[in-house]
């Protein structure tokens, strides 16, 4: 994973709450077995509408999405994070994220920055009044800034550390392989395995 310290890019105001992962990428785009090229599925249904924000210049080239509360609800599909990142987003700002989406984002290096809803509203107004305004997201100081606007954001401390260091979760866990083996020795013998059993 690429380390993340600070990012500056065009902010995109998405005035919607409850943006579920079926909206971020519909199921029909989930059939691929590869890990890239999901940008065409991003907000696929809404992008058919010429008034949708990502169809407007200069938002088309945005990389900081500013969305309403409860972003990323519903399906666990990590494809939602891949689609946002493949399109070019590095940060999503919202006042509330769904848990699985937030986790997936952290694994992939997409920053899910949680701001107060009042700050989201101020950012929306700023980005709508001056389209193309760049937003700077600083993970070393946990701040979001645009023009003369600055606000703090929160992100899980451990995720923040991993993002700053660009560390791979699996490699970190495998440092504790002995603990896992030790735990496995203590598991009760009656717990099921998936190995086929003869019919009783």
């Amino acid at each position: 994973m690429e380390a993340f310290t600070t990012h500056t890019g065009v902010g995109v105001p998405l005035r919607r709450s409850n943006v579920d992962t079926d909206q971020i990428i519909p199921a029909v785009y989930l059939k691929r077995v590869t890990r890239s090229g999901f940008e065409d599925g991003l907000f696929a249904a809404w992008r058919g509408d010429e008034h949708f924000v990502l169809n407007q210049e200069p938002f088309r080239a945005g990389s900081v999405l500013v969305a309403g509360p409860d972003f990323g609800t519903g399906s666990s599909r990590e494809h939602a994070v891949w689609a946002l990142m493949d399109y070019g987003f590095r940060v999503v700002i919202s006042s509330r994220f769904a848990d699985i989406f937030r986790g997936n984002a952290g694994k992939q290096g997409l920053v899910a920055a949680q701001c107060e809803q009042s700050d989201v509203e101020l950012l929306w107004k700023l980005l709508e009044n001056e389209p193309g305004t760049e937003v700077t997201v600083d993970l070393t100081n946990n701040t979001v800034a645009a023009k003369d606007f600055t606000a703090p954001f929160t992100i899980d401390e451990y995720t923040r550390w991993r993002l700053l260091e660009g560390l791979d979760d699996i490699a970190l866990t495998l440092r504790h392989a002995e603990d896992i083996t030790e735990f496995e020795r203590r598991r009760p013998g009656w717990l099921p395995t998936t190995e086929p059993v003869p019919a009783r």
Partner: protein, 469 residues
């Protein structure tokens, strides 16, 4: 004497491989990893790239469900992209030594129907799957939750997950459900009450006399939709109903192992003086059949109500959401919900595709006909459910009523296989999500119970069985 703990805390602590220090998460052992074709290919690829094996293929099982057609399953899948995804799962399972139940197999079905039915889901276990409805397995007192593909790869490689403890919320449902009111109505009412974000960060524990009176299948329906309230998981303490359901299933313990397991399972209850981080109360006596009118599962109302007027909603975000939902759904404020016509009725999914759901709907349909202009799909959650339904003659009831009797799969719950709504079509669906386009681009979904689905099929408008007499 250890401190008082909730059920979720007990299961959590029994699985901590290593406590994290400071901001570091705990490392949690995973007892069962369920796989399907959609969220696993990139995880298998990751393993291959890193040269890692699956640590415990003997705690891993796969099935094909999201992409599979529910007719003509002996033919190759027509959509080449779906076919490739299913074939990729087969290749990956063969290469990494994972047991797979492919299309057509007697044990194939929706992953969350297959696990419990094989007896693989047991109280006190940790169960994960790259699918948010993994919360279903919490009905057994397991800590079960959906994960993303990176986490799927992590579990494959390490059989563990680094996680921060969840908060706990008690959902107390006391009293007794009235006839015609089901587990689906309970959970839709819960979600409408706490909202689609109300459960964020929490494990919900469903408790109270109305929950204790439910069958395992009804409990699975409730836990299944915990994610629609934003919760990581839902749980119900195991009791005699749970033990009776598990006993004798293929992977259930037997003999002395059974006794040892039950002795442990009986300890899996929230201690009397344990405290939850939040509590919610619902009176079961007051509940009536519940349906959704909007485009998220929290936008629901009792069937006897009318489509709400967004103007009357004070919260701006909710008002805008309601306006957008009504525009998408093609509904006018004030319309009685009972007057809403549907084109399609879908009975199935990991929420309501089990044998009891089929029995309940068949009872309503027996001797009646699906209304003209309405199509009804009946899709068993697994091949075993299908076989059992046929042994009981339920398929004849559905066919005689004019419904379609299908093979097992996720089907019309999500637009990934041939079973989809056309743009503008409206469904009454026993599935779990009424998001825009969920059942097909432009499709409009009303979430309902199996009883309401069957009655709606007969009348052609949203209805409960009481409306048929």
């Amino acid at each position: 004497m250890s401190r008082s703990r909730t059920l979720a805390e007990k299961v959590w602590e029994a699985h901590v491989v290593r406590h994290g220090s400071g901001a570091e998460p705990d490392l949690l052992y995973i007892d069962l990893h369920l796989l399907h074709e959609v969220t696993s290919p990139q995880a298998f690829d990751g393993l291959r790239l890193a040269g890692r094996p699956i640590r415990r293929p003997d705690l891993t099982i796969a099935t094909e469900d999201h992409n599979v057609p529910t007719v003509d399953i002996e033919l190759p899948i027509a959509d080449p992209v779906s076919r490739t995804q299913v074939e990729t799962l087969r290749k990956n399972c063969a290469e990494f030594g994972v047991r797979l139940h492919p299309m057509g197999d007697a044990e194939q079905g929706i992953v969350h129907v297959v696990g419990p039915q094989l007896g693989l889901t047991q109280p006190g276990m940790t169960v994960v799957c790259g699918d948010s409805h993994t919360s279903t397995h919490g009905a057994f007192g397991a800590l079960a939750f959906g994960i993303g593909t990176s986490e799927v790869e992590h579990v494959m490689a390490t059989q563990t997950l680094p996680l921060k403890p969840f908060k706990t919320m008690a959902i107390n449902v006391d009293g007794a459900l009235r006839p015609g009111v089901t587990a689906k109505d309970v959970i839709l009412a819960v979600i409408a009450k706490i909202g689609t974000g109300g459960g964020q960060g929490y494990v919900l524990e469903y408790r109270g006399s109305a929950i204790e009176a439910l069958s395992m299948e009804a409990r699975m329906t409730i836990c299944n939709m915990s994610i629609e309230a934003g919760a990581r998981a839902g749980m119900i303490a195991p009791d005699q109903t749970t033990f009776d359901y598990i006993k004798g299933r293929p992977h259930a313990p037997s003999g002395a192992d059974w006794d040892a397991a039950v002795e442990y399972w009986r300890t899996l209850r929230t201690d009397d003086d344990a405290e939850f981080d939040a509590e919610v109360h619902l009176n079961a006596d007051e509940l009536t059949p519940f349906v959704t009118w909007g485009t998220n599962p929290g936008q629901g109302l009792p069937l006897g109500e009318r489509v709400p007027d967004p103007e009357a909603i004070v919260d701006e975000n909710e008002r805008v959401a309601a306006e957008k939902a009504l525009a998408y759904m093609g509904l006018e404020p004030g319309t009685p919900l009972r007057d809403i016509h549907v084109d399609t009725v879908f009975l199935g999914s990991c929420t309501n595709g089990r044998i009891e759901d089929l029995r309940a709907a068949a009872e309503v349909l027996r001797g009646k006909k699906v209304a003209d202009g309405v199509r009804m799909l009946v899709v068993p959650g697994s091949m075993r459910v299908r076989a059992q339904a046929e042994a009981e003659g339920l398929h004849e009831v559905f066919l005689a009523a004019g419904a379609e009797w299908r093979q097992a799969g996720c089907s019309m719950c999500l637009g990934m296989n041939p079973d989809q709504l056309k743009p503008g079509e409206r469904s009454a669906s026993t599935s779990n999500r009424n998001f825009e386009g969920r059942q097909g681009k432009g499709g409009r979904t009303h979430l309902v119970s199996p009883l309401v689905a069957a009655a709606t099929a007969v009348r052609g408008t949203l209805s409960s069985p009481a409306d048929l007499v």
